[in-house]
């Protein structure tokens, strides 16, 4: 599977972890254009900061191991699995979540196509699907089937909406 090429999976924190709790500091995160200060351990996955600390629940937990893509967000436009991306690895990069992806032309076109073609079923994986698709269209505005396979095969949908996801990406690419 090729999806890992498109996805940044950071299992290890970049800077050395603070030696004691006293040294721990708040992290400043830029999410959907808004600055948030969070006081968590440096190895805390971004997913839990977004969902539990900041209460933005559009980004979903699926596997905790970068195997299903439900937690996909953009970090500086790159589709990233937030469940394995530690908070200390982000620095001042811009984070975008499903709540704001509609503000990008690719995100808006994809959301419209998703609705036009009635892609969703249970819907739980669709935040991640849309985030992966938006990164794909930003990088590759007219994706081939192979491009779609590469960018999207890291996103699992147990309802099996894949056929419509493919069609919706193609429709959005034509928009």
């Amino acid at each position: 599977m090729l999806f890992h090429i498109f996805v940044r999976c950071q299992l290890q924190p970049f800077p050395p972890a603070p030696a004691t709790l006293e040294e721990a500091m708040a992290y400043n995160l830029k999410i959907n254009g808004t600055a948030h200060s969070v006081d968590v351990d440096d190895d805390t996955p971004l997913l839990w900061v977004i969902r539990d600390v900041l209460g933005m629940t559009g980004t979903k937990f699926g596997c905790g191991a970068a195997l299903c893509g439900a937690c996909t967000v953009h970090i500086d436009g790159v589709a990233t699995r937030s469940c394995v991306t530690t908070v200390d690895s982000i620095g001042d990069s811009a984070i975008t979540t499903i709540e704001a992806i509609g503000e990008t032309p690719q995100g808006a076109a994809l959301q419209k196509a998703w609705l036009d073609l009635e892609v969703v079923q249970c819907g739980y994986c669709q935040s991640g699907q849309l985030m992966s698709a938006a990164a794909l269209l930003t990088e590759t505005p007219k994706p081939t089937d192979e491009d779609i396979n590469s960018a999207m095969s890291g996103n699992v949908c147990r309802c099996g909406t894949y056929q419509r996801i493919r069609a919706a990406i193609k429709q959005a690419a034509e928009a």
Binding site: G62, C63, G123
Partner: protein, 735 residues
């Protein structure tokens, strides 16, 4: 409260009503429906699904709520888990109520069997592909009751005969067409009229349907593409803590030792909770809770099932299936006919344990209070959950408030209240609300599994290849014996034999029986497609074996046996024709078929597969012929055929849960493989137009797809798949 998120839960006793939200949120949208003359106002919400219980003066039954501001709320007795039921059931109500779908919001029903029991399952349970079948008549009647009352209220206001008035798009109009009153304007007056009996109101002639049968947009779709949809796992409450959980890896094991100090040293961790079979670490966020759980370095006492393994389970099934079981069907004398048949065929089929692996891992939020308990969860069985928790807590069931949610997948997993029970046991030790979230590993290793089934079949053919005898013995765990014991009579599990006891074919001399064999310690439960997912694979594979033994074409062979089953014959003919059955295939490719009558629907599928020299199977195309009676939302039916087929394909090609040392060997999506976008075939659905009452759909494709694929593999390779999942090793070219 985020005004864009009406589903955001509030603490108990502090529910923000829908009306308050609409006023406060400023989301009232004005509709001037008839040339701007009515001034009527409809409140269409930005989010059409709400979990808040809506109070409104006009509430003639459990399903309809209309307030004076024109908010039309339809209460959904069944839960939305992707199958589109919130749209289909809303269509049934709206059709007769005479409102448009964009004028309504839907609400999760509270637990209440008296109001919301499913007439097929006799409980408020979303399962068995029964939602539309069970509510086809009750919801249309409920809508018609509402419409009748609103028309009566308008007629009374105008001093005319109700029969001279008409309702459409949420507005009642008089005979002249000059007077209009909106449903909102009529709500108060209509609420004071006596409610007619549901079976006394006249239902529309199907030819007058304006909604039913026409593709409708899903009401839950907009909120699922921008992160607004709220699942159980998204529950947010003031003061809520979040817990990670570790359950004994071995089934039936117990906690031996926990390093509480180490867990509590993790930043953000508040508490370590021990119950017999599990440890929970309670923290500010799941990141801290998981880290704390790891630090807790739990030691386990593996308990009585520590040596259980798959090989022994299968061996026991093989042995016990040699003995006769509880008889599901016996016609003619199958043994005698086998003895005198011109040709005899015997086979053993096996299907594995399967996990549900819903995308939303198991989770439940509980707020234990002195004499009551609030529960936020996504469940297929709200009343059953309420009853079970009443027994766990000792509270009366009225004191157990279940707040249901959209389900991030159900597939039968959320027919079980085990996750809620565990969360309640933990919450008993926690001050304030706590959300318990399972890791994916816990979710897969502590699922309740589709049973491993072991089937023995024999058939006798006459000189022309026609079957003259058929015996089928099914051995495996009984879910009914645990879940619905009153329906487990004389050792017969009706689910275990569903799809096997009544094949659609003319089969003289048939004997089908069932042997209950429980795998020690391994919990079993319903899985999408229930009995038929296993049995249709077996029956349709074996029929294919008979066609081959008779040297006949698999479609022609089936058609000859379906002469007296016109609807089954029609779907088979349709699928075969659309798939191009009979055309030659390139080397390494094959085409297979299966047909069944399941969940009240007739279905046939043709699969095209390609088998590589390395044994890898690629499914290229699935063509489905379907007669599910009258369609409610045709687009949802197609979506279910697509998704349900993929759910079945995942199982056929990849799905197996295996047991070693009393524990499940698989743990996440790297060793319990889901089908991904680069593997999926093109799936086509062709509907037979039918005037019959609707059949079920959600589980139909999952049940039918396996045999179509394995029969296609046989056509491509000459190798018969009798054990799932498909083993590519077995299909490697011998060259």
């Amino acid at each position: 409260m985020d005004t864009l998120n009406p589903n955001e839960p509030t603490t108990s006793g502090n529910n923000t009503s829908r009306r308050t939200f609409l006023k406060g949120g400023g989301l009232l949208l004005g509709f001037a429906l008839i040339g701007g003359t009515t001034g009527s106002v409809f409140a269409a919400s930005a989010a059409q699904v709400t979990e808040e219980e809506v109070k409104a003066p006009f509430a003639p039954n459990g399903f309809i709520r209309i307030d004076p501001e024109g908010t039309v709320t339809l209460v959904m007795p069944m839960v939305e888990m992707g199958q589109g039921t919130y749209t289909s059931l809303a269509m049934l109500l709206a059709e007769e109520l005479e409102v448009d779908l964009d004028q309504v919001q839907v609400q999760h029903a509270p637990p209440n069997d008296a109001l919301y029991a499913n007439s097929i399952l006799h409980i408020q349970s979303t399962g068995l592909s029964s939602s539309v079948r069970a509510f086809w008549t009750p919801l249309r009647q409920a809508g018609a009751v509402g419409r009748t009352l609103l028309i009566d209220a308008a007629a009374k206001e105008w001093g005319v005969e109700p029969a001279t008035c008409k309702a459409a798009h949420g507005v009642v109009t008089d005979a002249s067409g000059s007077k209009h009153l909106s449903y909102g304007e009529l709500a108060e007056a209509a609420s004071k009229l006596p409610v007619p009996a549901a079976d006394s109101v006249k239902l529309k002639d199907p030819k007058d349907f304006t909604l039913i049968g026409k593709p409708a947009k899903r009401l839950d779709a907009p909120m699922k593409v921008d992160g607004r949809a709220v699942y159980g796992i998204d529950t947010k409450l003031p003061g809520m803590k979040i817990a990670a959980i570790a359950i004994s890896p071995a089934f039936g094991g117990k906690v031996k030792a926990v390093d509480e100090k180490a867990a509590l040293a993790v930043k953000g961790v508040h508490q370590v909770v021990k119950i017999d079979e599990a440890v929970a670490v309670v923290a500010d966020h799941l990141g801290a809770a998981k880290k704390g759980l790891e630090a807790a370095a739990i030691e386990w006492d593996d308990g009585p099932h520590a040596t259980v393994n798959s090989a022994d389970i299968i061996k026991e099934l093989g042995e016990k299936s040699k003995q006769p079981g509880a008889v599901a069907r016996n016609e003619g004398d199958a043994e005698k006919a086998l003895g005198t048949a011109a040709q005899r065929i015997d086979a053993i089929y096996q299907v594995p344990f399967l996990a549900h692996a819903t995308m939303e891992p198991m989770n439940c939020t509980v707020h234990m209070q002195k004499d009551s308990c609030d529960i936020w969860v996504g469940t297929q069985v709200p009343t059953l959950t309420q009853m079970v928790i009443a027994s766990v807590t000792g509270f009366p069931k009225e004191a157990i408030r279940i707040h249901n949610h959209l389900l991030g997948g159900g597939f039968g997993r959320r027919l079980e209240p085990d996750g809620t029970v565990l969360a309640v046991k933990i919450a008993k030790q926690v001050d304030g609300p706590v959300k318990v979230v399972w890791s994916r590993e816990e979710d897969i290793q502590h699922d309740m599994y589709r049973p491993y089934y072991y089937d023995r079949l024999s058939a006798g053919l006459d000189a022309d290849g026609k079957p003259v005898a058929w015996t089928h013995r099914i051995a495996g765990s009984s879910i009914f014996a645990r879940y619905i014991p009153q329906a487990f009579v004389n050792g017969l599990d009706p689910d275990a034999v569903e799809g096997a006891a009544e094949p659609p074919y003319a089969l003289p001399n048939i004997h089908v029986d069932y042997v209950q064999v429980e795998p020690p310690g391994v919990p079993t439960a319903f899985w999408r497609g229930v009995g038929p997912t296993h049995n249709i694979f077996v029956v349709e594979s074996f029929i294919d074996e008979l066609a081959h033994a008779a040297k006949q074409d698999p479609v022609a062979y089936r058609k000859a046996l379906l002469a007296n089953n016109p609807r089954a014959l029609a779907v088979l003919t349709l699928a075969a024709e659309k798939a191009g059955w009979g055309a030659s295939m390139p080397a390494g490719q094959g085409r297979g078929v299966s047909v069944a009558f399941i969940f009240g629907s007739y279905v046939a599928q043709v699969a095209d597969v390609e088998v590589g020299a390395d044994g890898a199977v690629k499914v290229n195309r699935i063509v489905c012929g379907l007669d599910c009676g009258m369609s409610v939302n045709p687009d949802t039916i197609e979506a279910q055929i697509e998704g349900g087929s993929i759910f079945g394909l995942t199982a056929v090609l990849h799905g197996a849960i295996t047991i070693k040392d009393g524990r499940v060997e698989q743990s996440n999506f790297d060793n319990y493989l889901p089908m991904r976008i680069d593997e999926v075939p093109v799936i086509e659905t062709h509907l037979v137009k039918s005037p019959e009452a609707p059949g079920g759909i959600g589980e139909v494709p999952t049940s039918i797809v396996s045999a179509a694929v394995t029969n296609a593999i046989f056509a491509a390779t000459g190798k018969r798949i009798r054990t799932l999942p498909v083993d590519p090793e077995m299909l490697k070219s011998s060259t």
